[in-house]
Structures are given as structure tokens and as C-alpha cells.
């Protein structure tokens, strides 16, 4: 099966007054039709920049310095602004944490949605309107016909996010990048949105990259997980595998620090220290200073990505044996 998205050795750097920040520093992954990938990391891990790179939304002082992004066979790195206009919204769409990033507060929902369709296709007004109505219905908005002529502020936070999802899906894109889309929402509303995205991805065959800091949210949603640390994917594999048998010490540390994995009232198993500055990365593996399993080589040369079998990939010299279940 051919991949919808192939990201190869992607590097996005920011050239600031203080120095070069290697926000994304050699990221590889691929996605197939209808596949959902959870891209998990802390702030500064490069997960958001990876998402923005795929949409060509890296602005100066940042730029993509190396690598390739192929979407349905088309190379995106180096695409002209003209080409991007045809790609964005039609082949790849984004859902932000704040739905007001996509919604214009002074325009009615139907105006915005029709614009999104008519920018890419010449179809009659009524057909476009029908498609908007269907899209709203599909994301679970009650009485879509009336809601079409409402303004964004007349929706609740959860409903606004549904509208943003509906807009993202309007042109049947091959890929959706969802950047923390439920982080600002309440638990019960988050569950609704996650359920909706899961259903739609399956129905429409859209591939989804779900960028989040929350392992728990993607654990029930994603087919596979990629864990990022300091600009690189340190561990990748099928969701259940990674969660049940983490091989990278960082993944294990994250899982073990969750309250549910610790006896009630006892100190949590914390990862010591804090994420390194991207301006002053230590030599070797960036996680080494916080790692309990670090050996000498870890502090000297950054580990390359290795195949760990069972569709799993890893950047670690001293991984946990796959048998050592958490």
C-alpha cells in the first residue's frame, strides 16, 4: 500500500539572534490512508513545528533546511506559494487548539465554509451550500441548516471546534493535522470530539496526525504513536505496543509518571530534570542527562534511528528489552 504522507529526514530550524534552534532535527515517518498517528511530546519537542512544516506554515526566522515531505506523491518542500494554495485546505487541512485560528469572527459560518469550497472548485452555490450543511451534520452539530447562518461567537467552545473540523473536512483532504484540538476543552466535550474524529477518519479514509502532549488522549484514538524529544522522534510504533512495552527510557518514564500507574498517595516515578535548551543541546543523546539507563556512548554520539522489529523504530543505545513490560 502506498503511503499518503512520507516525511523523510525533515529539519526545520529557527535562526534567532541567540543562535540556531533546531526545532525539528531529522524526523522520519509515514502515514497510510485512514491511519491516525499520535505525535506526542512536551513543549519544545518540535511536535508543533513538525505539523506546521507539513502545511508549509513555517515563517521566518524559521525555515525547512533539509528533508522531504511527500503528500500523495507530491513533494511539498520547496513548493511555491501558488502551489501551496492548491494544497492547503484541499489536500491537507489543519485543526488548531483554538478554533478561532480558522474561524473569522465577523463572518457567518456559511460564508466561511462556502468560500473554502469555492476557492478550490467551481460548483453552483446551492451545491456548495448543501455540502456545507452535510459537513456540519457529519461532525454532530444539531440542526445544521439553522446553524449555518450563525456567527462563530454564537457557538460554544466544543461546537466551534466541531465547525473547525467540518471546515477541515470540506474538501475531503488526504491528511488532517490536528494540533492539540481538545486541550482547551472539557473532559466530556473532549471525549465527544475524539469520538467524532475517530469515526470520520475511518469513514472518509483521511489520515490524521494528532499532535498532543497528552498520551492518554491519543492512546484510545491513534493507530500508531511517535514520541518526540528535543526535535527528534525517539520512539515510534503501533499504539498498543508502545504503551504496553515501551522501549525508550523516555517513553517508559512518561508512562510511569502517570498517577494511575502509581500506588495512591505514594510519590510518583518522576523523570528527573527538565528538557534541555534547544540552543545548548548536550552532545550525544539529548535525553541522556535525564536518563536512568544512559551509558557512556549516549553522552558522546546521538543515537541513529534503528528498526526494532514489529514496525517499531527507536533512537536508543540501551533500550529496554521488549519483554520488560511496564
Amino acid at each position: 500500500m502506498s503511503a499518503v504522507l512520507e516525511v523523510h529526514d525533515l529539519k526545520a530550524h529557527f535562526f534567532t539572534r541567540r543562535g540556531v534552534i533546531a526545532a525539528v532535527d531529522g524526523v522520519d515517518f509515514s502515514l497510510e490512508r485512514g491511519e491516525v498517528m499520535g505525535l506526542v511530546g512536551e513543549s519544545g519537542s518540535g511536535k508543533t513545528v513538525t505539523g506546521l512544516s507539513i502545511l508549509g506554515l513555517i515563517d521566518p526566522p524559521g525555515r525547512i533546511v533539509a528533508g522531504s515531505i511527500r503528500l500523495a506523491g507530491q513533494e511539498l518542500v520547496g513548493a511555491s506559494e501558488e502551489e501551496w494554495r492548491m494544497i492547503r485546505g484541499r489536500k491537507v487541512a489543519m485543526i488548531f487548539q483554538d478554533p478561532m485560528m480558522t474561524l473569522n469572527p465577523v463572518l457567518r459560518i456559511d460564508t466561511q465554509m462556502m468560500e473554502a469550497i469555492l476557492a478550490h472548485e467551481a460548483i453552483p452555490q446551492e451545491a456548495a451550500r448543501q455540502r456545507c450543511r452535510d459537513a456540519l451534520g457529519r461532525v454532530g452539530i444539531p440542526s445544521p441548516n439553522e446553524r449555518l447562518s450563525a456567527y462563530p461567537h454564537q457557538f460554544s467552545g466544543g461546537m466551534r471546534q466541531r465547525v473547525a473540523i467540518a471546515i477541515a473536512l470540506l474538501n475531503n483532504p488526504e491528511l488532517i493535522i490536528a494540533d492539540e484540538p481538545t486541550t482547551a476543552l472539557d473532559v466530556t466535550i473532549q471525549a465527544q470530539i475524539v469520538a467524532q474524529v475517530q469515526k470520520l477518519a475511518a469513514e472518509m479514509g483521511t489520515a490524521v496526525v494528532w499532535v498532543t502532549h497528552d498520551l492518554a488522549v491519543v492512546s484510545g484514538l491513534a493507530d500508531k504513536l511517535a514520541v518526540m524529544y528535543a526535535g527528534r522522534i525517539v520512539e515510534e510504533g503501533p499504539t498498543a505496543d508502545v504503551l504496553n512495552r515501551p522501549m525508550h527510557p523516555y517513553t517508559l518514564g512518561l508512562l510511569n509518571s502517570l498517577p494511575v500507574r502509581n500506588p495512591r498517595g505514594r510519590p510518583l516515578n518522576q523523570i528527573p530534570g527538565a528538557a534541555p535548551s534547544l540552543l545548548a543541546l548536550p552532545p550525544g543523546c539529548p535525553f541522556a542527562p535525564r536518563c536512568i539507563r544512559a551509558v557512556d556512548i549516549c553522552r558522546q554520539v546521538a543515537p541513529a534511528e534503528t528498526d526494532a522489529g514489529n514496525a517499531r523504530r527507536l533512537r536508543c543505545y540501551n533500550p529496554l528489552p521488549a519483554a520488560e513490560a511496564a
Partner: protein, 330 residues
């Protein structure tokens, strides 16, 4: 005796009609005062050294309750008792001590620190001002506080922007701790932190509790965290406590349908990929909450009675309070 006890506390936010609305009113248009019932007759108590978790979604009033307990806002109705006395009736000195005894730790580790003060001043200002320490010992007191929360005292001369998120959270905790409180109200104090840092700060909270015999009102939307550190848990929905009991009971066998739904919707790493069965419907606006039980429009067990009558918070087992009409059957 309880350290803090909120009795029938209500908080209403009234938006008075503005000039345009008043004129419209004079011309005969119906003008309604917008009243938000942020809290509706809430009872809550925290014993010395106890950790009470406060769980709820937006509009539940959990932050408002925290601010009232910390003395940052006044209740519209009802009273908050500190060691059995209404703080407002105390004389000026005792009142100040009562308010200092309850300190708050805020959500946003950046905006809760004054960007123009050095860490030494952020932590040391209040204890110095209130005479907790003398001017001569202020320096060493700040160092001691920084050590207590796991910060290097050598950084005392730095400014907040020079610290990472986790360190800023620790500064906020040190500032609260420096006036020797009996209780800390932590309002989503770890929500803005990275996953690997959250565990560190939770551990710090637990260590400080044993070291200083602190009580906490721990406000969070994260049931996992609350489950881990709280002795008792109160669950709020649209300004009312719907269930209040020992943490292991509420979070293992919740009684109220809303508690059950909340627990079922909590994302868990354990579950693996699965189909979701989310709770239907939206959280109603606190401007216009449903009649009767606020939860009835979303409740799978709603009966005709639920839309008529407000279910009172009743003891359904020793120390286990729940506000649901279903408990009257049986």
C-alpha cells in the same frame, strides 16, 4: 474542628444593564439582568492536613469556590468559617492572620509571577512585610524556601522569565509557603506544565503536605491526579456539589450519574485504541441553567421529577454525599 468550612456559599455575578439597555427599558423593551449563579448553596469542609479534590468542568464554579476560600472574593450568600469562626467578624489582626493562613497557588506559572521582581523579592516580600522574618534573616529565609521547593538558592537574583515552566511553578509554591500557611488552594496548579514536569510538582505537593502538615483544596479537571493525592473529592456541576466523599469511593464506584459520566470520559492510557461512548449534549450556560437537577438534560437516568425538583445533597452512606433523586428509590 474543620480548618475551613464553607456553609451554604452562593456566588452570583450580576451584569447590570448598561446605558443603552436602560434606555431600551424606558422605551418599553424587556430588559433582563444577566445573573450567573457561579455557586449555588455549596457546603464544603477541609480538615487540618486534609487534601480535598475539587473536580468539575467549565462553568462548574470550582475556581470561584477556590477564590472564595482563599479570600480573594466574597461570597454573595453564606459564610466561610476559618477554624470555626467567620473571618469577617474577626478583628483586623486576627483577620489578616486567618487570610494569610490560606494561600493560593495559581494555574499560569508565568502570569502569576510579577515579571519585574527578582525571585528573592517575589518570595520574600510578604514574609518581610508581615514580620514573619526580620530584615536581617530575609535573605537566608528566601534561600531556605527555595531549597524547600527544590530550587537552587543561587538563582534568587534572577527574574521569572529566566526560569522554565516547572521552576516557575515552584517559585509560586515557595511564595505561598513563605507566609507559613495552614492550607493551600491549588487552582489547576499543574495543568499548564509538561507531562514529565507534572509528576515532579505533584511529588513536591505531597512532600510539602507531610513536611508542613498542610491541607489542600486541590482544584483540577484531571481525575487521575485528584485520585492520586486527594483524601476526599467533591464533584461540581454548574455551581452545585453533586457528590462529595472519600476519593477511593467516588472514583471507584461513583454514585451520581454525572460523576459516572466524567469518570467514563476520562482519557486513560490503559484502555488502548477503542471506540468512544461520549456523554451526549453540551454543558448548559450558567446564565440559564436547566430547572431542577442541572444535569437532567444530559442524564441517561432522568425522570420527570428531575426537571422539577432540585435534588438535595444527602448522605447515602457514612461520609458519602450525593445529590441524585435515584437514591430515593430502592
Amino acid at each position: 474542628m474543620n480548618l475551613i468550612e464553607a456553609r451554604r456559599v452562593s456566588k452570583r455575578f450580576v451584569r447590570k444593564p448598561d446605558l443603552a439597555a436602560k434606555i431600551a427599558g424606558m422605551l418599553g423593551a424587556p430588559v433582563k439582568q444577566a445573573v450567573v449563579h457561579a455557586l449555588d448553596h455549596v457546603d464544603l469542609s477541609v480538615a487540618p492536613g486534609e487534601v480535598v479534590g475539587l473536580v468539575g468542568e467549565s462553568g462548574s464554579g470550582k475556581s470561584t469556590l477556590g477564590r472564595i476560600v482563599a479570600g480573594l472574593q466574597d461570597a454573595s450568600d453564606g459564610e466561610v468559617m476559618f477554624e470555626g469562626k467567620d473571618r469577617r467578624t474577626l478583628d483586623a489582626d486576627a483577620r489578616k492572620r486567618a487570610y494569610l493562613a490560606v494561600q493560593m497557588v495559581f494555574q499560569d506559572p508565568m502570569s502569576s509571577l510579577n515579571p519585574r521582581l527578582r525571585i528573592a523579592d517575589i518570595i520574600g516580600e510578604a514574609p518581610l512585610f508581615h514580620g514573619v522574618v526580620g530584615r536581617a534573616e530575609a535573605r537566608s529565609y528566601v534561600s531556605e524556601m527555595m531549597n524547600t521547593v527544590g530550587l537552587n538558592p543561587a538563582y534568587a537574583e534572577r527574574y521569572p522569565h529566566q526560569f522554565s515552566g516547572g521552576q516557575r511553578a515552584r517559585i509560586g509554591i515557595a511564595r505561598a509557603l513563605a507566609v507559613k500557611p495552614r492550607m493551600i488552594v491549588a487552582d489547576e496548579a499543574i495543568a499548564a506544565l509538561d507531562a514529565s514536569i507534572q509528576a515532579q510538582v505533584i511529588n513536591l505537593f505531597m512532600k510539602l503536605r507531610t513536611d508542613f502538615d498542610l491541607a489542600y483544596l486541590f482544584i483540577s479537571h484531571d481525575l487521575g491526579v485528584v485520585q492520586h493525592i486527594a483524601d476526599r473529592v467533591a464533584i461540581l456541576y454548574l455551581g452545585r456539589v453533586v457528590e462529595f466523599a472519600a476519593a477511593e469511593k467516588v472514583l471507584a464506584t461513583p454514585n451520581h450519574p454525572y460523576s459516572q459520566a466524567l469518570l467514563a470520559n476520562m482519557p486513560r492510557v490503559e484502555t488502548g485504541k477503542h471506540a468512544f461512548a461520549p456523554l451526549e449534549g453540551e454543558i448548559p450556560s450558567p446564565l440559564d441553567p436547566p430547572r431542577g437537577c442541572h444535569f437532567h438534560p444530559r442524564c441517561p437516568h432522568a425522570m420527570p421529577r428531575c426537571s422539577e425538583e432540585v435534588p438535595p445533597l444527602k448522605e447515602i452512606a457514612p461520609g458519602w454525599m450525593s445529590a441524585c433523586h435515584l437514591n430515593d428509590r430502592a
